[in-house]
């Protein structure tokens, strides 16, 4: 990639709790190019939202502590910026939309006032002009009757309209990166489609990059240029989206895709990933996925049945695999696939 807008490098982050420090991110690295959409996908507790909040430095510290790593945005390490300069970055260069628009909007201010506040807070223009621009932005997000709706309060709007208002606020200062944390999860299917198509349209028009955080593989499939799969505070696979769906390499990604129901009618049982995600406070050494991994399981049973003299995947219990590179920007963190498919060291 020639240019990068955001480059997260080796981000390690932990939370101080009464029972001791719990690590939430174990060296997360990824980059977003200008105008590119990267999907960050994982199940609850995998660290995808923490990653997003860390980029904007919105995690309260303590309890959150960045142990190491860099978050480079346009050549500047955001972690080293003084809080005052960071405020200038938030909303202006990087902005964020959340899953639940109701709790992220102020219930006692009209929607118009809240969009206008984005302009006045960053001293872009005076109050009158801000109000006009707010209506203009509500129109751009296809809010019906924008000048009327600007005078309404969040509770008078439906979930879809509130999400539109949130998007208007987030995009008002034309940021170069939008972080969207489950932007459509709380919405109905048809409304979800509306919001995603709106984001698609605005992404093209404003030429901004999007970091899309979701648990829904379907959403990234249609929306992201590249997709990263997270598991237990790590990125276990990252690849161009089409590539990832066509040829998943990491056993976790394979399992997730296989366990999606409804790919065709008449399928009886879904191939499911056995076990549950381990507790973050009790992460096993070695590969985080080893205890649920079909490759590891098979290797172990062959060894126990004395088919092979030595446990071929003993390394999984010892070493946390780094991301190995396969063809065309496809990375996956798996010892087994590296030996089988010959991934290169990154």
């Amino acid at each position: 990639m020639a240019e990068t807008l955001l480059d997260v490098r080796g981000l390690r982050l932990s939370f101080a709790t009464e029972k001791g420090s719990v690590r939430a991110l174990f060296g997360v690295s990824f980059s977003v190019a200008p105008g590119e959409t990267v999907g960050l996908v994982g199940e609850s507790g995998c660290g995808k939202t923490v990653t997003a909040l860390a980029v904007l430095r919105l995690l309260q510290s303590p309890p959150a502590i960045v142990e190491s790593g860099e978050i480079v945005f346009r050549g500047e390490d955001l972690l080293a910026l003084p809080e005052k300069r960071m405020c200038g970055v938030r909303g202006k260069s990087i902005s964020m939309i959340f899953q639940e628009p109701m709790s992220s909007l102020n219930p006692v201010l009209t929607v118009g006032e809240q969009v206008a506040e984005v302009f006045t807070a960053h001293n872009v223009c005076g109050k009158r002009e801000a109000a006009e621009r707010a209506v203009e932005w509500l129109r751009k997000v296809h809010m019906p009757d924008p000048s009327l709706r600007a005078r309404e309060y969040p509770h008078q709007m439906s979930g879809g309209m509130r999400q539109r208002a949130m998007i208007a606020m987030a995009l008002a200062l034309t940021p170069s990166l939008l972080i969207a944390d489950e932007p459509s999860t709380a919405l109905d299917v048809t409304i979800q489609a509306q919001i995603l198509s709106l984001l698609r349209e605005l992404r093209e028009r404003e030429r901004m990059a999007v970091l899309l955080i979701t648990h829904d593989l379907g959403v990234v499939h249609d929306f992201a240029d590249r997709t990263a799969i997270m598991y237990l505070g790590r990125i276990v696979e990252i690849a161009p989206t089409r590539e990832l769906f066509a040829d998943p390499i990491h056993p976790y990604t394979q399992g997730l895709l296989a366990s999606l129901p409804g790919k065709r009618t008449g399928e009886k049982r879904l191939p499911s990933i056995p076990g549950t995600v381990p507790d973050l406070s009790n992460v096993p050494p070695g590969c985080p996925f080893a205890d649920r991994c079909p490759f590891r399981r098979e290797a172990l049973s062959r060894f126990l049945a004395r088919e092979v003299p030595a446990d071929p995947l003993a390394v999984c219990d010892r070493e946390d695999p780094p991301l190995y590179e396969y063809s065309g920007g496809h990375f996956a963190a798996c010892h087994h696939q590296r030996t089988v498919r010959g991934g290169g060291a990154r």
């Binding site: 609850s44 299917v189 379907g218 790919k263 009886k268 049982r269």
Partner: protein, 329 residues
Amino acid sequence: MTGGIYRPEEDGAILSLVNVYKTFPVRKSFFSTENLRVRAVDGVSLTVPPGKTLGLVGESGCGKTTLARLAIRLLDPDAGAIRFDGKEITRMEGEALRVTRRQMQIVFQDPYSSLNPRMKVSDIVGEGWLVHGLARGKELRERAERLLVRVGLPADAGGKYPHEFSGGQRQRIGIARAIALSPKLVVADEPVSALDVSVQAQILNLLRDLQEEYGMAYLFVSHDLRVIRHVSDDVAVMYLGKLMETGPAAELFHEPLHPYTRSLLSAVPMLGDAPSERIVLSGEIPSPISPPPGCRFHTRCFMAEKVCEEVCPLLRSIAPGRYAACHFV
């Protein structure tokens, strides 16, 4: 027999709803004297054959959860008839209802609020046995243990409290409770919506295995079309309190008839084989307090014409087994 109006085939059905209505009062504001009502279920008929799964799909506020609770008399209908296993249960009361309830159970969406936090898991699972005098004490604990193992929980789970389990495990407890009385019908109200993808697949498999083993019928409610496609033999699509379309799952997903079903399917990525047309509906879902006249869907429909604003289309037969409520199908 094309063109016929939908009439549920009640012969041999385990559950049939005939023209069921349910409204709820709403108070618009403290001082308002207007008598407003949410028309949650507005004249719906459907049947569930024994041992089969009917998937009920729709967006929030379409009345699917209300309908599911009406089906097992956790709510009482305003009008219409509910028949269960050949018996009319619409107005059943007291002991008769209590006994009938053994045959119909429910699994809930929220694995947290559906289990009493102050009861041990074996008491939760065995409550039905206790109230129907089927088992108690040591026998109850042993039977609960066998059942918990059957749904994939460790044998010592019975002695613990719900908060010691993860969401997926709690859902297994809820399923064990539902099948404890060997019901003929289980209403599954969004049973996997609160779960992560990998856990979701485990629970869906469990539900399917149990259906094969015990031969019960499911009324499976979900907003998730992928899940509905996976579990259902037949599918019913609801919108604003009315059925829009119903038919066998394979055919409905292969070739949806109703414009609402078509747009629903197109809104879900990776559903089906070919990337179908992308239909993005305009507008919001109208309020069920004052649903639009005529066809409920006409305000957002890409095929709507004048007649749709005036005449509410009936659910009529389009092809064998397939019904849709649209003037233009």
